[in-house]
C-alpha cells in the first residue's frame, strides 16, 4: 500500500432504496427509552423497598438506629447508581441505539456527583454509627475500623472515587493533562472493585439475604460482562479480525486530511452513514488515546474514511500519518443516522469540520431528487474540505446545495454576511421551504449548532425532527 497523494476518483455507494418513515418509528424509540429508564429507576426502588421490608427504617428512635439506617440506605442506592453509571459508558449497543454515546456520556457525567455524595454520606454515617455504638470518638473509631481489611479497602475505594470525580470537574479537567485524567479515571474500576469485599462481608443487606444476594451478584456480573465484552474484548477482536491499517492520507484543505483505513475484512465492520468510530493509532505513544471521528464516506467494502481537521492537539499529528500504520477501530457508534429519520424531506447542515457525517449521509440516504437540501457553512470555497465531493453528490443525486461562505453575519447570525440584510430565519425558510416538515441533521461547532437549533425553534420545527451530534468527550 503506497501513500496516496492524488485524489481518487469519486466512487459513491449505491444509496439506500427504502427507509421506514413516520411518527410511529419515533414513538417506538420513545417507548424503548421509557422502558430502559423505568428499569434503571426500578433497580433503585427495588433496593430501597427491600431495605424497608427488612425493617431497615423500622425503629428510628435512637441516633444509633438513624445513622445505621442512613448508612445502609445510602450505600445501597449509591452502589446501584454506580453500576448504572458504569453501564452508561460501557458502549453497550442497545444504549447506543436508544440514546447515542454522546447522550449516555452526558448522563454518566451528571450522575457522578450525586453518587459521590451518597457514598460520602454512607462513609460518615457509618463511622458515626460505630462511634456511637462503641462510645468512642469519631476519629479513633475510624482508625479502629481501618484495622479491618475490607473496610480499609472500602476507604481506599472512597479515596479513589473522590479523586475520579474531582479530576472530572470542569475546572480541574482544564488544569490537568488528558493523560493524568485518563489514568485516574481508569482507576475508578479499581475503586468499584475495592469496595466489593466490604459490601459482601460486612453489609447487613447482602450477606444471608438470598434475594439481595442474587440481585447484587447478578447486577455486578451483568455490568462486568458488559464492560469486558463491549469495551474491551469486542473492539479488540473485531479490529484484529479486520486487521485495519492506514492505507493513505489525502489532503483535503490546508488544515484537513482524509485518512483511508483498510483491512482484510473491513466490510464486516458494518455501520451506517453518520456514525463514528473511536480511532486509536497503534503507536507506542498513541495507542491508549482513542479519538472519536465520524466516517466521511458511507460504509463500503473497501475502506473506512475519516476526515480530520487540525485542531492543534493530537489531530495535528494525524495530519501526517504514514501509510501502513496500524490502527484500532471501536464502533461504529452513534444515532446521527437515517435510522432517526421520520420525514421524506431532509435538510443536512454542516459547518466547517462538521462536514464528514453530512457528506456520508448525503451519499447513502434514501431520497428522490429534490428531497434533500444541504447547507454547508464555510470560510473559503477554495480551501474547504470535501466541498467538491458534496457538490458532486448533490449534482448526481439532484439535491439542493447551499454554500454559505465568507465572513460570519452580524450579531448572533450563524450564516454568512447577507447583502440583502435578511434575518437567518428568512434566509433559512427561503433555502429550505419545507423546513417545518423536514428532518434536520446538524453537525458543526457547539455554538453554531445551538444557534441553528434556536432558529429552527423560532420557525417551529418539532424537537423530534432535530438531530444534532453532541460531542461530550
Amino acid at each position: 500500500m503506497e501513500q496516496t497523494t492524488t485524489k481518487r476518483p469519486l466512487i459513491l455507494v449505491k444509496p439506500k432504496t427504502s427507509i421506514r418513515l413516520g411518527v410511529r418509528k419515533w414513538n417506538e424509540l420513545k417507548r424503548g427509552q421509557d422502558i430502559i429508564e423505568a428499569l434503571a429507576w426500578a433497580t433503585v426502588v427495588f433496593v430501597t423497598a427491600i431495605f424497608f421490608i427488612d425493617g431497615g427504617a423500622k425503629d428510628l428512635s435512637s441516633a444509633l438506629n438513624i445513622t445505621s439506617a442512613i448508612d445502609r440506605l445510602t450505600a445501597l442506592v449509591a452502589t446501584d447508581l454506580l453500576l448504572i453509571d458504569i453501564l452508561l459508558v460501557s458502549r453497550i449497543p442497545w444504549i447506543d441505539h436508544y440514546y447515542g454515546q454522546d447522550k449516555a456520556t452526558v448522563a454518566h457525567k451528571k450522575l457522578g456527583k450525586p453518587i459521590l455524595y451518597l457514598v460520602l454520606a454512607h462513609f460518615f454515617s457509618s463511622v458515626l454509627q460505630y462511634a456511637i455504638g462503641d462510645g468512642k470518638n469519631v476519629v479513633s473509631e475510624f482508625f479502629a475500623m481501618l484495622q479491618i481489611q475490607d473496610l480499609l479497602f472500602g476507604t481506599f475505594a472512597l479515596a479513589l472515587m473522590v479523586a475520579v470525580v474531582v479530576t472530572s470537574l470542569n475546572f480541574a479537567r482544564k488544569a490537568i493533562s488528558y493523560e493524568a485524567w485518563y489514568l485516574i479515571h481508569v482507576l475508578s474500576y479499581g475503586s468499584v472493585l475495592a469496595a466489593v469485599p466490604h459490601q459482601f462481608s460486612t453489609g447487613n443487606d447482602i450477606a444471608g439475604k438470598p434475594i439481595a444476594q442474587v440481585y447484587w451478584i447478578a447486577f455486578y456480573l451483568f455490568v462486568l460482562v458488559n464492560v469486558v465484552w463491549y469495551r474491551v474484548a469486542r473492539p479488540v477482536l473485531r479490529s484484529m479480525r479486520a486487521s485495519v491499517r492506514v492505507a493513505g492520507v489525502v489532503r483535503e484543505s490546508s488544515d484537513t486530511v482524509s485518512v483511508y483505513v483498510t483491512g482484510r475484512k473491513v466490510a464486516t465492520l458494518g455501520g451506517e452513514a453518520g456514525q463514528f468510530y473511536m480511532l486509536r493509532i497503534m503507536t507506542p505513544s498513541q495507542w491508549w488515546r482513542p479519538h472519536p471521528f465520524s466516517i466521511s464516506a458511507a460504509p463500503n467494502e473497501n475502506f473506512v474514511r475519516f476526515t480530520i481537521g487540525n485542531r492543534g492537539d493530537d489531530t495535528a499529528m494525524m495530519q501526517h500519518l504514514k501509510a501502513g500504520t496500524r490502527v484500532m477501530l471501536e464502533g461504529p457508534y452513534g444515532v446521527f443516522t437515517e435510522d432517526r429519520r421520520t420525514k421524506e424531506k431532509v435538510v443536512l447542515m454542516a459547518a466547517g469540520i462538521g462536514i464528514p457525517p453530512i457528506r456520508a449521509l448525503a451519499e447513502s440516504m434514501a431520497a428522490r431528487p429534490g428531497d434533500v437540501t444541504i447547507v454547508y457553512r464555510l470560510r473559503d470555497q477554495g480551501d474547504a474540505s470535501l466541498l467538491d465531493e458534496v457538490r458532486e453528490i448533490a449534482r448526481r443525486r439532484g439535491f439542493y446545495l447551499h454554500i454559505l461562505d465568507g465572513k460570519r453575519g452580524i450579531g448572533t447570525s450563524w450564516m454568512n454576511v447577507d447583502e440583502h440584510r435578511r434575518t437567518d430565519r428568512e434566509r433559512f425558510e427561503y433555502m429550505a421551504p419545507d423546513i417545518r416538515n423536514s428532518d434536520v441533521y446538524i453537525c458543526g461547532p457547539t455554538q453554531w449548532t445551538h444557534s441553528v437549533i434556536k432558529t429552527l425553534k423560532e420557525i417551529g420545527t418539532e424537537d423530534r425532527l432535530i438531530h444534532a451530534e453532541e460531542f461530550a468527550w
Binding site: V45, G55, K58, S68, T202
Partner: protein, 213 residues
C-alpha cells in the same frame, strides 16, 4: 422519559415504597448496633418457642422443658452487663448455654459474652460422660473470641465463651452463634449477617476445640 410514563412510574414508586415501609414496620429483623438479628431457628436440639426481639418476658424455669428462650439483642447502645450462666442445664436435650437463668427477666442481660471467665463449669449429670475442651483464641478484628465446648454422646451440649470480645455491638451475636452451633452440632452453619468477622472467629475457635475431641 415521556411525561405520562413519568407520572405512572412516580405513582408506582410511591406505592411500592409505601407498601414496603408498611411491611417493614412488622418485620422481625431489627437492625441494632450494626447487625441484623436473624429469625429464630427451630430444630430438635434447640427449643421451639423463641421470644421475639425486644420482648421483656422470658420463661422462668423452662430450661428443663427443652424450650429455650431466644437470646434477644438489646436495642440500646449501651454496653451490656456481663452475666454468667454457670448453672447450665441438666437435661441432655436442652441446649442450655445461651438461655438465661430462669429467674432473670431483664432482656438486656441475656446477651453479650454471657460466660466470660467461667471455664468448663457445665457438667452433664445424665448418663454419658461429658467432656469439655477449650478452643484457641481468635482475633476477629472486633476483638478476641475463644470458646469452650462441652460434648456428650458425640453431641455438643454446651458452649461457653471464654473470651467474648466484640465491639460495635457485635457482642450481641454470641448467643445466636452458640445456638446455631449447638443446633448444627458443628461449626458448619450459616454466617450471621452483619457479624461475619465475629462469626468467622467464633467458628475458628469452635473448630479448634472440636478438633481436640
Amino acid at each position: 422519559m415521556r411525561q405520562s410514563t413519568k407520572s405512572t412510574i412516580g405513582v408506582i414508586t410511591l406505592g411500592v415504597l409505601g407498601a414496603s415501609w408498611y411491611l417493614g414496620q412488622s418485620a422481625t429483623a431489627v437492625s441494632s448496633g450494626g447487625f441484623a438479628a436473624p429469625a429464630p431457628i427451630n430444630s430438635s436440639n434447640s427449643g421451639s418457642s423463641a421470644t421475639s426481639a425486644g420482648s421483656e418476658t422470658t420463661n422462668p424455669g423452662s430450661s428443663s422443658s427443652g424450650s429455650q428462650s431466644s437470646p434477644t439483642p438489646s436495642k440500646s447502645a449501651t454496653k451490656h452487663s456481663t452475666k454468667t450462666s454457670a448453672s447450665g442445664s441438666s437435661s441432655s436435650t436442652s441446649t442450655g448455654s445461651s438461655s438465661s437463668n430462669g429467674s432473670d427477666t431483664s432482656s438486656s442481660s441475656t446477651n453479650s459474652g454471657s460466660a466470660s471467665g467461667t471455664t468448663g463449669s457445665t457438667t452433664d449429670t445424665t448418663g454419658a460422660a461429658s467432656v469439655t475442651k477449650s478452643g484457641s483464641p481468635v482475633e476477629s478484628g472486633f476483638g478476641v473470641v475463644q470458646v469452650s465446648v462441652t460434648k456428650a454422646n458425640g453431641k455438643i451440649t454446651n458452649i461457653t465463651m471464654l473470651q467474648a470480645n466484640a465491639s460495635h455491638g457485635r457482642d450481641a451475636a454470641f448467643p445466636y452463634l452458640i445456638q446455631y452451633a449447638v443446633a448444627a452440632n458443628s461449626a458448619n452453619f450459616a454466617n450471621l449477617s452483619g457479624a461475619t468477622y465475629t462469626t468467622n472467629a467464633f467458628k475458628q475457635s469452635l473448630e479448634s476445640a472440636l478438633a481436640k475431641f
